[in-house]
Subunit: 198 residues, 2 copies
């Protein structure tokens, strides 16, 4: 029997499945606990084939995070037809929805920032892109003041800290958290001396 | 020549000096770059003596952080005679002062949370103690509501994110940052449905 000739689609599809599996495995296990041999076993493929897709466990880990970040960016893409505050409210709701569906992976990610340089860079890049989006909504067409930049950057950290606490305790509902996050952004932007208008 | 007999004070004093040196070295160099041999050389002692004080590089690193956290807790100890909001404003000012004096170490610490389990635990413990202090000021003598707990926990993250941005750009002054932080806390506490009174 000859091996089937992989078409381009097969390769992409297998890669996508491996990334989905990785998101699940890295959420369930500590990074150090997982070996490439174990991952290959879970995927039902040979270790050699796994290495064909990802040269190292770290490369695999980073690729699963990249995919998650791309999904998240897609899910929270603002609707340009809405006024800025409504865009923000809708994106934030989509963000919280994504987190609810990926709670384990999200918690692991935020708690492991710093363990792998690529992870920190990825989280920083996502925060920075999100900050730019928010600033473009609050201060359209002009360079944001330094205080506003600090406020929005700080708020993205607030969001991660608040979300981690929410996931840990689950004693307020998502709508309440959504209101708390938006209200805090309003407070921060106001404290930075900016009007916050739709 | 015989070795001098170390008195208890000598031991404590040397340990303290090693911790001060560690705070400086870990702020200047990446953790992985530093070896115990190099640290011993910088301290002007033998590697054996360094290992006598700290069983591993990680133990040494964690001990320098513990000392820094203890100093910080000391510096930001609230004055119980002041009204809560003034206590908070004074502690926050002391916190920012400590950070200005230890900018390198602080940045390294926050960016490396996650790389060493003990570091994450330490940062979590400091955040948790600080949150308890703030909650005791805002909601004295009663159990804080879940939303208020989320707000204060989130705000401590806000503070780290805002401070990192401030240290990176230095384009707003410390008083402005102080106002922005307090204003944001006010916004977050209000959004959590709590009155914020002195």
């Amino acid at each position: 029997m000859s091996q089937p000739a992989y078409t381009r689609l097969d390769v992409d599809e297998r890669r996508r499945r491996l990334l989905d599996l990785g998101a699940e495995l890295f959420a369930r296990h500590a990074y150090d606990e997982l070996s490439m041999a174990q991952i290959a076993r879970e995927a039902g493929i040979s270790k050699a084939l796994l290495y064909h897709y990802f040269p190292s466990k770290q490369a695999y880990f980073v690729a699963t995070l990249e995919q998650a970040a791309a999904e998240l960016a897609q899910a929270t893409q603002p609707d340009g037809d809405l006024p800025p505050v409504e865009q923000l409210a809708a994106s934030l709701d989509a963000y919280l929805g994504w987190i609810e569906r990926n709670a384990g992976a999200y918690t692991k990610l935020i708690q492991s920032v710093g363990s792998v340089a690529e992870v920190r860079e990825l989280v920083e890049r996502v925060r920075s892109q999100t900050a730019d989006r928010i600033l473009a909504g609050i201060a359209p067409g002009r360079r944001p003041s330094p205080a506003l930049r600090v406020a929005v950057r700080g708020w993205l950290w607030f969001m991660d800290g608040a979300v981690l606490d929410w996931l840990e305790h689950r004693d307020i509902d998502r709508a309440r958290l959504h209101g708390l996050l938006l209200g805090t952004l309003l407070g921060a932007v106001t404290a930075a001396g900016e009007p916050f208008t739709g």
